[in-house]
Symmetry: C2
Subunit: 334 residues, 2 copies
DNA sequence: GTGAAAGCGCTAACAT
DNA sequence: ATGTTAGCGCTTTCAC
């Protein structure tokens, strides 16, 4: 015999009060006479009653749920984002409805749309083209986008300062006396463009320009694939800035396999400061874009929006350069 | 002017049919006359109508949502679990309600209880004591536990074959001629006991026994902390099996800092086959417990239970030994 | 093949 | 301070 979950009516009957009283008690909407309060407390505890969130939604219109869509939860940068978002959400009594899009552009919009029906607001990390964000408007829910170019004015978004992060990495390499600097990008990502601009702007101040290569996905496997053609190309760069740490790590590994010595033959660095980099060898120089904090900020923005507060326009999050062994070799001919 | 989301009544009115008809159409419960079907299709498309999942739940009792609680989403093993679970869930039209417990035992039960109210079933990864699982029964929802000892008969659970995995690692080290083998465990985890048993049983067949050390958390930081006292202890082991790859990676890094040469001075390996290990140096020998597949299987079990199907009792998932450089050094005196 | 109506568990407006 | 009641959007008998 399955025992039925107690409803508000069970509690009301059992405590000898009306459902309205129980409802008000549960929500702390009102004060009660001592005897009623005592009976209510006892009955609720005895029955183990908890209000049904879905029924509650029916009348309040609030789900206390935030939809989170990420391209790939296994990318440590995205994992951290979710971690940070989860922390703030719990703090404000929200729960995360998570969808891993698996980098599947085809189902992307459909999944997000379905997600939107069940939540109060959305935290989105997609590769959706800018014009496609128009399609999100009819969802009629507060949305915060993550890792989107900040000049995208239509929807709220939080991103690291990608330009500055790129600039930092390039400056560091210049300081280390590297001159022939390559950039291994991932053109599908919006952040890629800005990171490259940061690199380019910095190098320009020294009268240099980066040689640009492309990876076909933001993964270590893509870094491995790109490696040989870069290292055995006509003019091998001194140093390589990769679109993210995963690509850098893959490149690093493959370069070692190919018999190159790192960072002696080529220095390598990336973006994101994923934990892999700390335990790799040589340790990976990177720039910490503070993913977890980014997730917290994004969720904070959403919570504010949901509470009807104005968006506190804080600037992009300051990145931090993390120098490790992968860029500390003496460049050729220096 | 905010435009209201269309309800089933809007569609009914606009198409000149009853709400019952629209409902049946949406659910494919019935066939319709051509004209009605055409009108319905057109109206639904025009209004962009989609049924409200919460209202639907009110009558069906189904949320089409699975609650997933993990100890720490940033632990790559758990991330993979979620990835696999998400894949199967989407396939069966479920969505994941995710809660990261942040290894916080205090709020654990409370969070899970709240989660249970909103979902059809639960996928749980907790350190809750076995007797505490009794507290989950009143939740009255199908539950699949992850990474729990298989002898725990009360609740369904899926786990890797931890004993075999431990055995494999120990056997590999014996094959490599290591004799003085240590085990750096994390006693708070149930899997830890079984992994150690696997190691112990294997070594026993060679007349040996592992020396056991303890880490205070399942993280790289804990591996770093444990390192010096093990390596500078009275009798330094030849080889060290760590409770998981994170601990192993931390140990590896710190050992290098302390001036040891790996695997020459000490071989190191772990469990989980997290991607870090492939890009570390020396590459980390590990045993792949197939986390992502584990997540898939767990979710499959849950989906079956929800569909009223009997649990197909498949045995534990076969682990796979992944040998890399961290255990390929020549042992001392061999 | 289609419609009318009851009711899921809850909150909020209003009455007392 | 407490109770009555009308829905929220939907599915599901049960008529027709």
């Amino acid at each position: 015999m399955k025992k039925r979950v107690p409803t508000i009516r069970d509690v009301a009957a059992s405590a000898g009060v009306s459902v309205a009283t129980v409802s008000k008690f549960m929500n702390g909407t009102q004060r009660f006479s001592a005897p009623v309060e005592a009976r209510l407390k006892a009955t609720i505890a005895r029955l183990g009653y908890q209000s049904n969130p879905h029924a509650r939604y029916m009348v309040t219109g609030e789900t206390r749920t935030i939809g989170v869509a990420v391209l790939d939860i296994r990318n440590p940068h995205f994992t951290s984002l979710v971690k940070g978002a989860n922390r703030i959400a719990l703090q404000f009594d929200y729960t995360l409805l998570l969808v891993d899009l698996e980098e599947n552009a085809a189902r992307e919009y459909q999944l997000i749309e379905a997600l939107a029906r069940r939540v109060d607001g959305l935290l989105l990390n997609t590769r959706m083209a800018d014009d496609a964000t128009d399609r999100l408007a009819p969802l009629n829910k507060p949305i915060v986008m993550i890792n989107r170019a900040s000049d995208d004015s239509k929807v709220a978004s939080v991103s690291p300062d990608n330009h500055r992060a790129g600039f930092m990495l390039a400056q560091h390499l210049l300081n280390q006396n590297y001159r022939d600097i390559g950039y291994l990008g991932y053109p599908q990502s919006r952040a890629n463009t800005i990171r490259l601009e940061g690199v380019t702007d910095c190098l320009a101040s020294a009268g240099l320009a980066p040689r640009v290569f492309e990876a076909d996905s933001p993964t270590a496997a893509a870094g491995e694939r790109a490696c040989s053609s870069i290292l055995f190309g006509p003019e091998r760069p001194d140093a390589l800035i990769c679109y993210n740490d995963l690509i850098a790590l893959g490149f690093l590994k493959e370069a070692r396999n190919l018999g190159f010595s790192l960072p002696g033959d080529v220095a390598v660095c990336g973006f994101d400061n994923i934990s892999h980099g700390e335990y790799a060898w040589p340790g990976l120089t990177t720039v910490d874009i503070r993913s977890e904090r980014l997730g917290e900020i994004a969720m904070l923005r959403l919570v504010d929006a949901l509470a009807g507060k104005p968006a506190s326009e804080s600037g992009p999050l300051e990145p931090r350069l993390i120098v490790r062994e992968s860029t500390l070799g003496r460049p050729r001919g220096a």
